[in-house]
Amino acid sequence: MSRATLTSRPLPSLSRARYSLGPWARVAGLAVCALLTLGPVVWTVSTSLRAPADSFNLPPQIIPARPGTAAYHGVFDQIDVWLLALNSTLVTALVAAGQMITAGLAGYAFARLDFRFRKPLFGLVLATMMVPLQVTIVPVFLVLKSMGLTDTLLGLIIPAFPTAFGTFLMRQYFLGMPKDLGEAAMLDGAGPWRIFRSVYAPLATPGLAIVGVLAFNYHWNEFFRPLILETSGQNYTLPLGLVSLQGNLGTGSVSVVLAGVVLSMLPAVAVFVVGQRPLREGITSAGVNR
């Protein structure tokens, strides 16, 4: 964008030559990279729509010669897709909703309420962002075992409710809102709860959307915790089911596995299309909100 103003100035002849070639080379280079990035996904979709016998055809047919949905029927025959999808949906939806609530409330408290130990408590929350999940997984597993929550979906859901990053994000979000709004309401006699409920909470929707979309994206694809916590097939989520589909498929067809991958991708792609903006903002905010 900034180049637009540059090019209106007279440029030295040498760089003029570069400019006439530059844009095309640049776009071509980017296009090749975009192809490499999307290629595996395109291959996955097209192979899943091919007749199983054509899975390994080389060169790969991007447009299937004999298209069919046999592979998709195969997925439904071999694993209980509906159950896996239901499990994944339950976990993801409840975690996203839970994180929006906990992060919204805690973020507001850190941003707009005055209380003792506000700074050290916020420091504690931030510090936990540094702790890798795998370092705490054994004790977390034992805590959940003592609560009888291993091999249940609740065991996946409840520990995921608190979100340090979401809390940080919502605190920044509330800090960005004008303070006068709350002060005006206070002069009108509104208490702290009224101020939150009627003034600030309604403005927080876009921030909460970021927290929700990030939570969806992370937990829909989550693999490590389900792998450890869920031991019986009826509690598997989609990623676990897919890997097991590939595992017991020494003889079967690739296209069935890939059809499963495509099915599990669909909701993530839908969120990518609908929620691209909050998703991008959420990811970028890590680097820019300094």
Binding site: T37, T102, L105, Q134
Partner: protein
């Protein structure tokens, strides 16, 4: 997708204290409300992060297989772990993986972000941007399943493609070097979009006047980037590399699905060892010891980075 636990973000200086009168009914109301609002997050973090960290350290000092009651082990688990060749190899693999994966991820992301920053129609720019960050929304586990087919030595698309330019088939998943390279490629393919988005955001924050002034002085192309853009982008580079390294040290799904740590132990990573020791061999004490070591490693690497950054990072 990318991990949402993102460190290295420094909070803005705390806001000036709220001016509500102290000790009034209103101040008490606010404190009560704060306690209620914070309860879920703080309780959750204490139960599921703070206590487990302490638990990990304590557990690493005990022998425990769940069946028999735990017995105090002192430093025995650590001695065991330090003489276990699988553990040592897993740390070496993870460090090798981290160096190459993070370097590749940053290089790819930075070149693409700089290239995308050039002159082109807006719709094209957003098409490219969407393409580059699309892999982030996919599951690392299922993408690894897909890649396992693509990198197959005999019938994979990758060997067919490089065959077109006359390169002999590479034993991607069945040789030690090839397996590590594949794990790195698959990881970078999925993760570079994260650093890419950070860089795009960082580039947008560089004031336009600086570019204009540089152009007037005749700075163009690579020289302009080296002398001007990179120093201005250095805070973003710091965040991208800190987050990149922390995530890379925790790599699990890709080697677990692609190679299961093989051939031999050549792609076994630290997190795979934690998983195997705890949940396959029921050696919770040793698993915790490895976990504590990983935590120390992550902290040390991050601390070194921040130390170095004082010299290389320029804040505007």
């Amino acid at each position: 997708m990318t991990d949402t636990r993102i460190p290295a973000v420094r909070p803005r200086a705390a806001t000036p204290p709220v001016t509500a009168p102290r000790r009034s009914a209103r101040g008490r109301g606010a404190r009560l409300l704060a306690a209620l609002f914070l309860a879920p997050t703080v309780t959750g973090i204490v139960v599921f992060t703070v206590v487990p960290i302490i638990g990990s350290v304590v557990l690493s000092l005990f022998h425990w297989d769940v069946i028999d009651p735990p017995g105090f082990a002192g430093a025995a688990n650590y001695r065991e772990v330090f003489t276990d060749s699988t553990v040592l190899v897993s740390f070496r693999n993870t460090l090798v993986f981290m160096v190459f994966a993070v370097a590749a991820q940053l290089l790819v992301a930075l070149s693409l972000a700089l290239t995308l920053n050039g002159r082109m129609p807006g719709w094209l720019r957003s098409v490219f941007r969407s393409a580059f960050f699309f892999p982030l929304v996919l599951s690392a586990a299922s993408i690894s399943v897909v890649m396992k087919y693509l990198f197959n030595q005999d019938f994979g698309v990758v060997n067919w493609l490089i065959g077109l330019v006359g390169i002999a088939p590479v034993p991607w998943l069945t040789s030690e070097l090839g397996a590590m390279a594949t794990v790195i490629i698959v990881y970078v393919w999925q993760q570079f979009g994260f650093s890419f988005l950070l860089f795009v955001g960082g580039l947008n924050n560089i004031p336009r006047e600086i570019h204009e002034a540089a152009a007037l002085d005749g700075a163009t192309g690579l020289r302009k980037h080296l002398a001007l853009t990179l120093p201005l982008l250095s805070p973003t580079l710091l965040v991208a590399s800190v987050v990149g390294i922390i995530n890379a040290l925790q790599v699990f799904e890709q080697p677990y699905v692609l190679t299961d740590g093989g051939p031999g132990d050549s792609t076994r990573t630290v997190v795979m060892v934690i998983y195997e020791k705890a949940f396959e061999q029921l050696r919770f004490g040793e698993a915790s010891a490895v976990g504590v070591l990983l935590f120390v490693l992550i902290m040390a690497v991050t601390a070194v980075q921040f130390r170095l950054s004082r010299r290389f990072v320029h804040y505007q």
